[in-house]
Subunit: 333 residues, 2 copies
């Protein structure tokens, strides 16, 4: 008899970013981070353990995955097997409704959904905190895609105390993240490799030691729904992460001409009084954060800008959730 489970998780956009690890293997971050979970984008992942399988299998967007992609998932499932005592191999099927590996945190939603699906299928009943820790070991930012709404990941010092929790529910503030897709080409350097380069930048230590100031400002701005304060700290934090990336050795330069065009336009709009700001993850795409009342107008204006391929409208969303669970493995998630 096989066990299966299907889970759904959303990506998240970091307002205070994660870059660099204290512990590379366990992904214990150098600094805490704050994010918003993004309803409207999702990854749905089914995990089914089968006694007769001889190795794990992985399918993403309908395509079988081998090599490093499969190994990363296998290493992750190894943890689940160790904790559950279940030694069976699994078939993992994952589907996202947005492009992967291009700076929209696909690994966050993917490992969050995988954590919930795999632990459930393995017979474990994890709390949110346990799931967040597990997700973190697959992809750091995935720890933040387990809780919903506005989320803080406390850096911690070891596996036990490094996890994310909600600081306000999705209904707390009607923010919108307009995800401006500039390029869907996969990025040249993935985040896992990128994090390893963080300590080679002469600016990383300063970025890390300043993090509690930024976390405090961002947390207060969210709790007080103070858009102008949020905008200032979100843009500064994004520039600080990209500063470290650009000055690491070798440098990581994720920005494209259209990225800078967006940064400048958003600044100009805010100067004219519109509550809007921008932030950029490890890729060229720009997340334009605004209030719901302006999101439709802004989306139209964004789509008129050259090199903008698409704009996704996303909202503060709920945490990872289970879609279905079966002990036969026959039902399709």
């Amino acid at each position: 008899m096989s066990m299966s489970a299907t889970a759904v998780a959303h990506p998240n956009i970091a307002f205070i970013k994660y870059w660099g690890n204290k512990d590379q293997k366990l992904r214990i971050p150098m600094n805490g981070s704050i994010s918003m979970t993004l309803e409207g984008l999702e990854t749905r992942t089914k995990v089914a353990f089968y006694p007769e399988m001889e190795r794990d299998q992985l399918t993403i967007q309908g395509k079988p995955i081998y090599g490093e992609g499969l190994e990363r998932v296998s290493r992750f499932l190894e943890r689940v097997r160790r904790w559950s005592g279940n030694s069976e191999y699994a078939r993992v099927t994952s589907q996202s409704n947005f492009p992967m590996g291009s700076g929209i945190a696909s690994s966050a939603s993917a490992f969050a959904a995988l954590s919930l699906a795999a632990s459930t299928a393995a017979g474990l009943s994890f709390t949110e905190r346990e799931l967040s820790r597990l997700a973190r070991t697959g992809s750091g930012s995935a720890s933040r895609s387990i809780p919903g709404g506005f989320v803080e990941w406390q850096a911690g010092t070891e596996h036990e105390n490094s996890y994310a929790f909600s600081i306000a529910g999705p209904e707390h503030w009607e923010l919108v993240d307009l995800v401006v897709v500039i390029s869907t080409q996969p990025k040249e350097t993935g985040s896992t490799e990128g994090h390893k380069l963080a300590p080679t930048s002469p600016l990383q230590d300063a970025r890390v030691s300043d993090a509690s100031r930024r976390l405090n400002l961002c947390r207060s701005a969210i709790l007080e729904r103070d858009f102008e304060a949020l905008a200032r700290i979100v843009e500064q934090d994004s520039n600080m992460m990209h500063a470290v990336m650009m000055t690491s050795q070798p440098p990581l330069f994720y920005w494209r001409p259209a990225t800078v065009r967006m940064i400048r336009i958003v600044k100009k709009w805010r100067k004219k009084g519109l509550p809007v700001c921008s932030t950029i993850d490890a890729g060229p795409n720009v997340h334009v954060i605004c209030l719901q009342e302006h999101s439709k107008t802004l989306k139209k204006r964004l789509l008129d800008i050259p090199d903008v391929e698409d704009v996704y409208t996303t909202y503060p969303g709920g945490g990872a959730y289970l879609l279905c669970r079966s002990s036969s493995g026959e039902s399709e998630g």
Copy 2:
């Protein structure tokens, strides 16, 4: 009887940049810097002192200048008057063969030429070191436009020990700086105001305390004519300065879409084996550093890139020099 003098100076491109002052008034910099003096671009400045004048007069590019521009030059001439004992006001006429205030260091060549012309017309015979110190009080980077070739400005701690000197003559290395003009619009925030914002960036201290490492790497790369080493440190240093600018409060964001397009293209060319790198001062324009043997081909390729308005070819040049000197004030420089 009036005294006049006409001097010529070149701008310079900083390989290790100056950003932020220990002493704002004397422009004692937070960190040392290294530059190349740029033959091909120049400012020619005539200073004539007249006993009958009631205030200083300034003409730049044929236009009379009033307000802050005139006051800055007047404050500078005040120093010269104090040192020389000459209390006459001056007529200053300045002409550059390149656009001003757009990130090509026009204030560097302008204050270097002004230092030499004003001190000479006032009857002072300054050494190169004295001129460099004087120029620094007008515009920090002007201290580096007094000597020729490859120049280091030692930060120092006070007026006496903060000056620039040549570390290698112009003939030392056949580098070319292709100045890619992206926009000739004057920048929104001038450098003088910008320097004051440097301490508000959480990254400035790290940038400053890492400066001696960068200066050592850059100086060695120049002395050993090691282009690859120069390229790495020049690009890192430029990104570090812009990192501080972007993260200061309020942030200074000088890059435009075309700036990033250039950064990326230059990186790609170097990856393919071409000795070329880029660096950006406080403006949108990009300085593309290459070897003389490739400069013609590269210039053509640069001119084909969208949004590139013009490309100036510049070489390591000599220091500031006197064009003429007269005790009647009748001869035109």
